[in-house]
């Protein structure tokens, strides 16, 4: 390893192989379970399965004429289904859709055939009629707060009775009317570009509702109220008004559907709209995969409707009795609801079982530290003075500015400033809202911070927090959307201003990072943010818990620590595509941050130590998987984080010195250290203090700030 011409020898070292993709059955399952569209996928599969069966068993079912007929006869029912979707989305139910529908049919027929109003007046009046019923429903449920089920059951019976009375009085007269009208027939019988007009209307309604749910304030309010009424009220959503308006809108849609039916059929029977509420509910439940308030998936609902409609239609065509079809529909409704309830209950369990996905990880044998091992020589860190004891919670990194003030992050998301020269005055420099980890100063002496859970941020002055990056490009090999920077860990800044930072794991959080270590998979990545363009790119994906990042003294290489592999990698800044090369392998512990030392070498913080038993367990993924299932997390075999320290390595990666505290000493888990004017400042992520150690023989004028950005 030792060579006079260090940089050249480093660029000739063995490559570290990084996989192009992580392929694992368990991961695919867990990623699929994690996707929101997976629930919507089930109705799609059912729909296309049904299509395939129909295609194979029925001749001419998909002929244009039959499709046209199906579209014509189903459109108005589908609109009623969308009306039901609206009230279900808001957390209610509307049993009166069938009665409302019948009343609107009757109203349309009466206005057209008996009052002989023009069609362009009949249509809005029918919509108004439906809206009026919706208003009553909305008033009962939204304003008075009656239960939706009973309130709409009441209106259902009432309007059904009114419909019967009205139809007995006028149906004979309607059926004897011979009034015809081009516009009326346009809605009832005409095609537009080969597709029935009513289907076009359905398409417009669907698109408008979809846009409403996705992009309008009202749509969001509906979903918010349906998702969690109490939370929506706390968020300032006018609950009563939203519910009222939703029922009115749903009623209006039913009115529109009733008009379409009237125009098509020109008559009504005593069974018009009878059982309609049950039919559309079945379609909705199949499409949404359950009875789920707070979801406005228009297209899923329509797919469910199409499935149910085609199924009942084809069963009737096949000669089954209507009662049998009804029974089949009922069974489907019950089965979907039962499966959905079970799935919702067990999904997190399935996910938890599949999420942790250990892989074999063979570490290079731990180097023999000989006299540099803990407990062998003097406990040099025992000489350190303790700063801020008990006054800061969890400093992961420390950094000093040109005026010698000291900065560190804390567990509650603050960046603290300890004022020079004695560091007893501590003030909050900024509140970030995340978990600040690695820090660096840029060329203009602005603090740049990696914040776990948020991304890369810049703090140019007290209480000014600017986001630099929270996303990178999505990798094409991952099923999971991995754009978000999940655990930005440490950064460093190249001479040209590019900021290189590590995203330690894409699959776990700050609280569960230990599980990532146990998983032993390359879940992390190295990212680059270029402040000149504002772009954030992935430099190298699939690294094993990349952690500390340090630009070499000559500014030509980038040293990146892999905590899980107990190694340090080196990237050539001019040839990043080449990927990493080995810099140090077989460290005796789990390295965290790496920083420049005044003598041209580097400081490496060891957060914990390796144990032969864990090294062996890392080669046995099955063992770790079973352990995760059977042993309580607190008893998992894990890295020894009770002993840590600092290693000093030369410019070419030779370990030259080590610093340890006494076994029960206060500086036990070192996650970072910073050399500044002949002293070493030490931080630990689970500690509540900062160590300050005089370095005998070190350059007492050297600062990291001047080393990076000479003045």
């Amino acid at each position: 390893m030792s060579s006079a011409d260090a940089p050249q020898s480093i660029s000739a070292r063995p490559r570290v192989s990084t996989p192009l993709a992580v392929v694992s059955f368990r991961r695919i399952v867990s990623d699929l379970l994690n996707r929101n569209w997976i629930e919507g996928a089930v109705p799609f599969v059912a729909f296309f399965g049904l299509l395939a069966i129909l295609l194979l068993t029925t001749d001419g079912y998909f002929s244009p004429s039959n499709l046209g007929t199906l579209a014509r006869y189903s459109s108005d029912v589908a609109i009623v289904l969308l009306a039901m979707l609206l009230v279900v989305a808001i957390g209610g139910i509307d049993l009166s859709v069938g009665s409302n529908y019948a009343v609107c049919v009757l109203a349309s027929l009466y206005l057209f055939h008996i009052v002989e109003l023009p069609t362009w007046l009949v249509l809005p009046l029918s919509v108004l009629c439906g809206a009026a019923v919706g208003l009553l429903n909305g008033f009962l449920t939204g304003v008075l707060g009656c239960g939706a089920l009973l309130a709409t059951l009441g209106t259902m019976i009432t309007f059904r009775a009114l419909f019967v009375i009205g139809s007995q009085a006028s149906l004979v007269e309607i059926s004897t009317s011979f009034r015809g009208d081009a516009i009326w027939d346009f809605f009832g019988f005409d095609d537009l570009f080969g597709v029935p007009v009513s289907f076009w209307i359905l398409a417009v309604v669907a698109i408008v509702l979809h846009l409403m749910f996705r992009h309008s304030r009202f749509g969001w309010h509906i979903l918010a109220v349906g998702g969690n009424r109490k939370a929506a009220r706390h968020a300032g959503v006018p609950i009563k008004r939203v519910i009222l308006l939703t029922y009115v809108l749903a009623g209006a849609l039913v009115g529109l559907a009733g008009f379409l039916y009237a125009a098509r059929e020109n008559s009504a029977g005593s069974d018009t709209g009878l059982g309609l509420e049950f039919f559309v509910l079945t379609g909705l439940v199949v499409g949404l995969g359950g009875f789920v308030p707070g979801r406005g998936s228009v297209f899923n609902a329509l797919i469910g409707f199409a499935t149910i409609y085609l199924l009942s239609n084809s069963l009737r065509n096949a000669g089954f009795r209507g009662d049998f079809v009804q029974a089949a529909m009922g069974l489907i409704l019950v089965a979907v609801l039962a499966l959905d309830t079970k799935y919702r209950k067990e999904r997190h369990r399935l996910l938890a079982r599949a999420y942790l996905d250990p892989a074999r990880l063979t570490l290079a044998p731990a180097m023999d530290l000989a006299d540099l091992a803990p407990g062998r020589g003097a406990n040099k860190l025992a000489d350190a003075t303790i700063l801020a004891g008990g006054r800061i919670d969890g400093p992961e990194d420390v950094i000093l500015d040109r005026d010698d003030n000291l900065y560190c992050g804390t567990r509650d998301g603050r960046i603290m400033r300890l004022l020079a020269p004695d560091y007893t005055r501590i003030e909050t420099f900024a509140k970030t809202g995340g978990r600040p980890l690695g820090m660096a100063f840029d060329a203009e002496d602005r603090l740049v911070v990696c914040i776990a859970g948020m991304g890369l941020y810049r703090i140019p002055g007290p209480n000014r927090v600017e986001r630099l990056a929270s996303q990178t490009r999505r990798s094409w090999t991952s099923l999971e959307d991995d754009r978000a920077i999940r655990m930005a860990d440490d950064l460093d800044i190249a001479p040209d201003g590019r900021i290189f930072f590590s995203d330690a794991t894409k699959r776990y959080e700050m609280e569960t990072w230990a599980v990532d270590l146990l998983e032993g998979r390359p879940n992390g990545r190295l990212l680059c943010h270029d402040p000149r363009t504002g772009a954030t790119t992935t430099v190298c994906d699939h690294l094993h818990f990349p952690n500390g990042v340090c630009v070499s003294h000559d500014g030509r290489r980038l040293l990146v620590v892999s905590t899980a592999q107990c190694s340090v990698m080196s990237f050539d800044l001019d040839r990043l595509d080449e990927g990493p090369r080995e810099f140090i392998t077989g460290l005796p512990g789990y390295p965290d941050n790496i920083n420049r030392a005044s003598d041209g070498g580097y400081w490496i913080a060891l957060a914990g130590m390796r144990s032969p038993a864990l090294d062996l367990a890392m080669r046995e993924p099955g063992l770790r998987h079973r352990m995760a299932k059977r042993v309580p997390p607190t008893n998992w075999l894990f890295a020894n984080l009770n002993i840590g320290g600092v290693l000093k390595c030369s410019a070419d990666g030779r370990i030259e010195d080590s610093y340890w505290d006494a076994p029960d000493g206060p500086l036990y888990m070192i996650t970072s250290m910073r050399e500044h004017r002949g002293e070493l400042f030490l931080a630990g992520v689970s500690n509540d203090k900062i160590g300050r150690l005089k370095l005998p023989g070190a350059d007492s004028r050297w600062t990291s700030n001047d080393s990076y950005w000479p003045r």
Partner: protein
């Protein structure tokens, strides 16, 4: 798809109720003793303590510390005293020796051809026979941990009469580490790696212990004192079910670094650690999981626990091998800290 399989380990009693943790052992008075293994109360009321290959004697607690009275060719691993002043010692590699009242080796008594491989406990029965617990494997520096993962089937209790006639009272034991004769005359044996007590009589055994029991001694009140070498641990219990991994661990890793119970709280940086044991702000949590623990269980006449003395994860007085009642207090031997401990006061 949604089925729930019972994958959890068989549970063992929590440290709660009478076993609720306290700091009694941590706060006890202590006298340092190097490499202690066992102790017993001699006929004259003094306390005999083994220390490595030596035998120490102490007349009373504040008596200026124990005095060496004998020296042997190997570590003394077990001790028993007879009412008439005779003492039996188990010596590593040499078997059982009998000492007279002046601690000189007394040949011709209890001499047997069936030599125990690893004597873990000696007891004089009421009829004068000598009972010897044999772990079936030599102790060495890491006593019997190999036996934890690979059962040799050699654990047994021998009954040796004065003239040397030897019978096997019980065999196929998982590292027997202590025994006591009940008033009914049956024998109760503590099986260290089975975490339970086994009896040769009709008494109900106390089978689920939260620790790995060591020696058991009778109290004046009629109950018993059970010393526990370590605490049961879910991780170790799990590794014991992983036979392939355990075999690989034993083949590839030095015994010192195995995932196994320990007697001492002292830690090398290469020792395995459980995730919950990570220090916070530099402090070891007392409730943290640990591979070593100090525990003495006070059992009633039916061998049910009534009270307990603890040294927790943040303590050092771990690996309690023996506890006896002596001169108005409970005296316990901590192999972990190399100390003789005395807990004064009334105990239920």
């Amino acid at each position: 798809m949604f089925g729930r399989r019972a994958e959890a380990q068989p549970s063992f009693p929590l440290l709660d109720g009478p076993l609720r943790p306290n700091d009694a052992l941590e706060e006890a008075e202590a006298i340092p003793v190097a490499e202690p293994h066992d102790m017993c109360i001699a006929a004259d009321g003094s306390l005999l303590v083994s220390s490595g290959a030596s035998l120490l004697r102490m007349n009373d607690w504040g008596d200026g510390g124990p005095v060496r009275v004998a020296e042997f060719g190997g570590a003394v691993t077990a001790l028993a005293c007879r009412d008439d002043g005779l003492a039996a010692v188990g010596i590593e590699g040499e078997g059982v020796k009998v000492l007279d009242a002046d601690f000189a080796v007394h040949d011709g008594l209890y001499e047997t051809d069936t030599r125990p491989t690893g004597t873990t406990a000696l007891v004089f029965a009421s009829n004068g026979d000598l009972l010897a617990a044999d772990a079936g494997r030599d102790g060495g520096a890491y006593p019997y941990t190999r036996e934890l993962f690979a059962d040799s089937g050699g654990g047994r209790i021998l009954r040796i009469s004065e003239n040397g006639t030897t019978t096997t009272v019980a065999s196929q034991l998982r590292c027997p580490h202590g025994m006591v004769e009940t008033s009914a005359g049956s024998l109760v044996i503590s099986e260290c790696w089975a975490s339970g007590l086994r009896t040769t009589g009709p008494e109900a055994g106390f089978n689920e212990l939260p620790g790995n029991p060591g020696r058991i001694h009778r109290r004046q009140s009629g109950g018993y004192l059970l010393a526990c070498l370590s605490r049961r641990d879910p991780l170790i219990d799990f590794i014991r079910t992983e036979e392939a991994f355990a075999a690989r661990m034993m083949a590839e890793i030095e015994p010192e670094y195995w995932v196994a119970p320990r007697l001492s709280a002292q830690a090398d940086y290469r020792y395995p650690v459980q995730s919950g044991a990570t220090r916070l702000f530099g402090e070891t949590k007392p409730w943290a999981p640990s591979l070593s623990y100090g525990l003495v269980v006070l059992l009633d006449t039916d061998f049910q626990p009534g009270a307990s003395l603890h040294s927790r994860a943040n303590g050092t007085r771990h690996g309690i091998t023996t506890a006896v009642e002596w001169r108005g207090g409970i005296v316990a031997l901590s192999r972990g800290s190399g100390e003789l401990l005395r807990v004064k006061g009334e105990h239920p």
